[in-house]
Symmetry: C2
């Protein structure tokens, strides 16, 4: 199977008939694209909400949109889902009455609370895969619909955040080896040992693709989306920024950040284990070669890209010996930990420490945290600072290449930009500058110009 | 009392008659020097060991030196102590038979184990103060010996690491207000509530001076030693380095490091609280103005000095999500904490973290720590790296003065020196560069030239 390719198509790539037709062309273009993982149809210009949100809204009897102050009741969502699929079927010119009938049956099926949301949420992928498969066959691509329940994709019983149980890999390998032609597989869900549908976290179709690539030891995992690949810097700010042709797994981890991952992180873990390269491609722009993610590469440049993270806060504490006592940092982190707040960097001095935090995680807790720390640590100073942005040049070429930080800092000095926080660890494939948010745009431009352009 | 000065003289300043004569001149020079805190006589060219070590050796029946593989038994130490004081008395030309007799009585006094070491360790200060006082009076300086037991300097009952109990301040103030002329006070010890002698940690005469300055709200605390003051950088490496005329309490904390403090840190805490300036002076070089430590100053320069810390190790751990998980850093630090190892900086990335540690604290534990971490965290990579040096430019002038780090990094780049670790917190009065030790000398020279010279 070694030369086969697993292709996962994201929501926008299968949002309507025109998009699904592009997918068909992509499959036709390369015979090694034998495994197609399909997302639910994404939003196109005719939709205001995602299909999966409509399905969850049905499962929660309208609470899902109500909690977002949107006036869309379960009935409206139901209508939308059916119409979306009907339109797809009609536009693709395939036979699909049975699909609509089965979908309606699924939606009306009595399912216990706690399992219902996952079951309904998965229906977008489930039936879209069937539609894509039918269209492929109509267009002369011999294809077979392979459902998670058919191939034994077994997941843990943690609803809405399931993970794959290792027995699945053998099941998947065996099942897929029996398929003639292209396997079309719905992403996003698996079956618990008890036979219930459980979904991965949102964006989990990436994960399905990664798990299948791992199971069959694919030669390549193609992740088809609506962007040309990973950019050196945010192209909305710097339009001339280029797509990076090759990145290591490590580099892409540093270039993307939690919540802004180009694709589902867990999808990468197993590919990394088996050294399966991942390619980010754009369904809408075949001319772009995309970004290939590999375990090793020979860097031609020093800095390959600059990551940006906004909405960072920091907690600053001054107390004699804070930064050098054996337990102070530990004890302080145990307070933060209790609030479930993500922390990033810990710049310390002899008598002070700052802890960088996810600002959004902190909403509603700042006062509490402040009081707890006042009480437990009696610091000389205790301050929260908000709206910090972190810019992080990344590149394996930086390792043992002295001077990158000098160039970056000099570029900022010339712009008279003050760096609040600096952090660089011994791996030396990235470093981090923290600024007040209002500096971040011009800092990014200056650093891009000096380090990359 | 506001204009009065507390002077503390370190061991070398009172090591022999010639030195004590210099002390007398210093006191004569300024009438406000009304409170003189005296250390035990320090080592001079005729001694191989410190007097206090001899006293501890007597208290431990020779174990103290034996544990250092030195062949000096308690009897030899006894002889040395008596002879040292006899020589002092003879050279100063004062009457002192009663002092020797009382000292011998003290040494032979039956004292319970656990209290004996502190009692004997304090005798160097105790009798040296009496000798200095007697010499002052002989030289026409009206002086009174004021012992901790006379003035109610009450300390906690933690032997060898006692701390002052606040009731002492009132006692001290009241007692000293009754003294006519100069008060000569032995440093290093106080009395527990039960009436036992307990000493501060080694170097604790600084603490006595600081506590007295605090108690009487002195105008100035002069710390007389054998160095001209705080240097910009280590003058052994860079002979042209100058003494810094003024530093804030914060700056001196950052310029000195635990184990390499110019004077006892706890001595500063109370002075800081009452805004009492501290002056480091050289008994052997009155021409040098020394270094004045104050709470605020207007910086004329950007970087005032560069601190250096050698013998740092780091623990480097790679595991997906290590640097951004809520509890990973906390849980990791709790392992280190269990071994009582001092930690300094925590440079993190998304998937890795390094913890900088005191290398000496780690001796004998590295294997254990490695095994514990392997077991508990199952990291992808786990490495110890040794012989790291940290250079830290310091200066309140750096705050909001962009570009210092750019200049420093550029200077290193020009020397082709690789920076392993970088850390700068939001206070921005210092930043830290970590290098392999073999780079440290040339890095310090390059940074000195660029930032200070």
């Amino acid at each position: 199977m070694k030369s086969q390719i697993v292709c996962k198509f994201g929501g926008t790539s299968v949002a309507n008939a025109a998009q699904i037709n592009k997918v068909k062309d992509i499959i036709l273009q390369n015979k090694e694209r034998q495994y197609v993982v399909v997302s639910a149809p994404g939003k196109d210009s005719s939709d205001t909400e995602k299909l999966t949100d409509h399905l969850i809204n049905i499962a929660t009897d309208g609470r899902h949109f109500r909690s977002q102050s949107k006036e869309i009741d379960a009935q409206k969502s139901y209508k939308h889902v059916i119409e979306k699929f009907q339109r797809l079927i009609a536009d693709l010119g395939i036979e699909g009455k049975d699909i609509i009938k089965n979908l309606e049956k699924d939606i009306k099926k009595p399912i216990p609370e706690g399992k219902k949301k996952d079951f309904l949420a998965s229906r977008g992928e489930r039936y879209n895969a069937e539609i894509v498969c039918r269209y492929f066959n109509k267009q002369g691509i011999l294809s077979e619909l392979v459902l998670p329940e058919d191939m034994g994709l077994v997941v843990s019983e943690i609803f809405s955040n399931a993970s794959v149980i290792p027995v699945s890999y053998r099941n998947i390998r065996e099942k897929l080896s029996t398929v003639e032609g292209v396997s079309v597989i719905p992403g996003f869900y698996g079956m618990t040992a008890k036979g219930d549908v459980a979904v991965f976290s949102r964006g989990g179709s990436d994960l399905t693709g990664g798990e299948i690539a791992y199971a069959i030891e694919a030669a390549l995992y193609e992740n088809w989306t609506d962007t040309d690949g990973i950019y050196q810097v945010d192209p909305r700010l710097i339009p001339e920024a280029k797509v990076i042709p090759r990145l290591t797994y490590k580099e892409i981890r540093l270039l993307s950040s939690k919540g802004f991952d180009v694709f589902h992180y867990d999808a990468m873990v197993n590919c990394k284990k088996r050294n399966i390269p991942i390619k980010i491609r754009n369904t809408n722009n075949l001319a772009s070669e995309g970004t290939l993610i590999v375990s090793e590469r020979v860097p031609e440049e020093v800095v390959v890209g600059i990551a940006r993270k906004d909405n960072i806060a920091y907690l600053y504490i001054e107390r004699d010996g804070a930064g050098e006592s054996i337990s102070f940092v530990h004890d302080l982190l145990s307070v933060i930990k209790d609030y479930g707040i993500e922390t990033y960097h810990y710049p310390t001095d002899r008598d002070d420490i700052a802890i960088l935090l996810n600002q959004d995680d902190m909403v509603g807790f700042a006062k509490d945290i402040k009081e707890t720390i006042e009480k437990e640590f009696n610091p000389d100073t205790l301050e929260f600072s908000y709206n910090i942005s972190i810019l992080s040049p990344v590149g394996i070429g930086m390792k043992n290449h002295p001077g990158v930080i000098a160039e970056a800092a000099t570029a900022l000095k010339e712009q008279n930009i003050n760096i609040d926080i600096i952090n660089q660890g011994p791996a030396q494939i990235s470093f981090h500058f923290g600024f007040q948010n209002y500096y971040a745009d011009s800092a990014l431009k200056a650093m891009y110009k000096t380090l990359i352009k």
